[in-house]
């Protein structure tokens, strides 16, 4: 079928030739049942229409110093019902955790409780100015303090920096604290060691923070090669960055030995807390010898992912690093809580390395995370971790005979498969994952971690019922059997039933079209 760029039939009569719309056939409108095509805002709007009613003010004595805009901006005008329909239609082209199992390994797509949304919108939080006087924000500062207390108690670390705005920002915060601590000791340490299985943010952050990056090898069992770590440690190493549980979904059982090696070499031990959700409420990273760890509140503590943010990445710090936490610092004295915003006036011993952002962190996420913690309690947080690990192991046990698992279990909160089982079938990891879309599932994480060929990383999370996980396993089993039966047609070019077929990423990169232009 020939289509124009809005997905509608280019020949209006084409669909009329059909007796009835069929699964594969065209419709007159170009829409199909509940699936609506939707133009861009700029193609819908027109001059003179508006979705708000505001008075038209004439300013006789403007104070704009001659800088008043001369030409129009070019924004389209639409009424409220048109805007609402536009975005509702767009929303329906998205997969979401609320609509189905979202097994995206290392991303932790768990349920987002609606209570948390409600509480974050209380005017006392949502409508509170960041620079309101301390007397007008005692409740907000108390909330931050309480969240800090939960985070330090759960992790067994004495301090926490709250201002990082996402996981990668937290990593940067941790490495800058390490940099400051190294400098305070009068040492020059320019190297950071990162396992080869690490997430791309780890080396990117280390380079961003001014370090050179060296990779540490993995063992055939998917863990850090302790001998290689030992060989690469030296007086020029500032830090070792480890994800634990690691990116293969495995717990690094030698973590305490690693911490000892790192500390003996005079370096600091950074832990990427992306997978902390497997061990929260059971293991305190502080007991493992960790010096700094960011906590993705949008993973472990379920603040919504929002289509790619906002996140929040507070960093817990050991006693060796606590003094270097960035500004602002939250202090409590006889007048209640207040924020210390600059070096002058910091508590004795504090040596903040600088500032991560204009204000004091992702307050909206703090409210949601604390609501999650209070709702779950210590028993619920532990149970959530256990259920996440149980579900992942259940998936691993149920599929490892038809797919191939590179490492022996037990796994932590995610089950890793490779593409050995696809060898010779003509079906790739990508094809298999895209075919899951036709079955109503979001694909698992693919081709990560890089240390496993054709990796498929499945994280069911604790939010799925057994029935839901059983259905998922059943679908994947049948699909795997179809691969083995040589039915590769359904995999090639999948998905077929999604709002779009595979998209041409090469064309997108070669001739980038990054905004709408009037034709």
């Amino acid at each position: 079928m020939a289509t124009n760029n809005q997905g509608r039939p280019s020949q209006p009569g084409a669909a009329q030739a059909l007796d009835l719309p069929t699964i594969s056939g065209a419709t007159i409108s170009g829409d199909r049942g509940l699936d609506h095509e939707e133009p861009l805002l700029f193609e819908l709007g027109r001059a003179g229409q508006c979705g708000v009613d505001l008075p038209d003010v004439t300013i006789s004595d403007d104070r704009l110093g001659g800088q008043r805009r001369k030409g129009p901006i070019g924004l389209p005008g639409l009424s409220e019902p048109e805007i609402v329909r536009h975005y509702v239609r767009l929303s329906r082209m998205n997969y979401a955790i609320d609509a189905g199992l979202y097994p995206l390994g290392s991303c932790t797509m768990k349920h987002n409780p609606r209570l948390n949304e409600k509480l974050a919108r209380l005017p006392g939080f949502g409508d509170l100015h960041p620079l309101a006087p301390a007397s007008a924000s005692q409740g907000a500062l108390a909330l931050i303090s309480e969240l800090m207390s939960w985070l330090t108690t759960l992790t067994g670390m004495p301090a926490v920096a709250m201002s990082p705005k996402a996981g990668a920002h937290g990593e940067l915060c941790g490495l800058l604290a390490i940099r400051a601590a190294v400098a305070a000791r009068g040492e020059l340490r320019h190297r950071v060691l990162v396992p080869e299985s690490a997430h791309g943010t780890n080396p990117a952050t280390a380079a961003f923070a001014g370090f050179t990056v060296d990779e540490v090898k993995a063992t055939p069992e998917g863990r850090v090669d302790l001998a290689d770590l030992k060989a690469k440690l030296g007086p020029d190493v500032a830090a070792f960055m480890l994800t634990n549980p690691n990116t293969c979904g495995l717990f690094e059982g030698e973590v305490i030995a690693m911490a000892e090696l790192v500390h003996e070499a005079g370096a600091y031990f950074y832990c990427d807390g992306a997978n902390y959700n497997a061990i929260a409420g059971r293991v305190r990273p502080g007991d493992l010898g960790i010096d700094a760890m960011h906590i993705n509140l949008h993973k472990t503590f379920s603040t919504p992912h929002g289509g790619g943010g906002p996140g929040a990445g507070p960093v817990v710090l050991s006693a060796r690093l606590a003094a270097f936490a960035p500004l602002p610092l939250l202090v409590h004295d006889e007048n209640g809580f207040r924020l210390v915003e600059e070096l002058e006036g910091v508590p004795a011993g504090a040596k903040p390395f600088g500032r991560m952002s204009a204000f004091h962190g992702q307050m909206g996420m703090f409210v949601r995370a604390l609501a999650y913690m209070l709702s779950h309690g210590r028993d619920g947080i532990r149970q959530a971790s256990e259920d996440a690990v149980l579900s992942a192991n259940y998936v691993l046990a149920s599929l490892k005979d038809v797919m191939s698992a590179p490492f022996e279990g037990p796994c932590m909160h995610e089950a890793l498969f490779d593409d050995t089982w696809l060898a010779g079938s003509g079906v790739t990891t990508l094809d298999f994952a895209k075919a899951m879309i036709d079955e109503g599932y979001h694909p698992m994480t693919m081709y990560f971690p890089l240390v496993v060929h054709g990796a498929m990383l499945i994280e069911p999370t604790e939010s799925e019922s057994k029935e839901s996980v059983d259905n998922f396993i059943h679908v994947l089993r049948v699909m795997a059997e179809e691969v083995k039966a040589g039915k590769k047609d359904r995999f090639e070019g999948a998905p077929r039933l999604a709002p779009r077929r595979r998209l041409d990423e090469t064309a997108a990169s070669r001739k980038p079209v990054l905004k709408w232009k009037a034709e």
Partner: protein, 124 residues
């Protein structure tokens, strides 16, 4: 009469007089997939042997292209800016990256011949 040599980084270098043309091999383009962008160096830049001279990107990967020999850039294939697909279509012809004036011809002589490279690439 030009003479062509190859590097273990999958670059080819073709010498005519004291000017050499550099690009990446067909084997390299097959590994990369569809090339979407090439960062071609400016004329007049000098590189030591092995220095990062260009960057070639596909949708999912980015690779540095190293100067196979020391020299100064005399020309860049800026047509790749408009049409990076030339690299896939004709990697060892119209898809060239840049030309260098050689600093030391011995460096060129030390690189792999076509036969040596073919053996290297297939064994890799």
């Amino acid at each position: 009469m030009s003479e062509t040599r190859y590097t273990d980084q999958h670059e080819w270098i073709s010498l005519e007089g004291d000017e050499a043309t550099v690009g990446i091999t067909r084997f390299a383009t097959e590994q990369l997939g569809d090339v979407v962008f090439v960062d071609v160096p400016e004329v007049g830049k000098s590189f030591a042997k092995g220095a990062e001279a260009a960057v070639v990107e596909s949708v999912k990967a980015a690779s540095e292209v190293y100067a196979p020999v020391a020299g100064t850039v005399t020309a860049g294939n800026y047509a790749l800016g408009d049409d990076p697909s030339l690299v896939n279509a004709d990697p060892e012809g119209a898809g060239w990256f840049f030309k260098l004036r050689l600093a030391n011809k011995a460096e060129f002589e030390a690189l792999m011949t076509k036969e040596q490279y073919q053996e290297f690439a297939t064994g890799h």
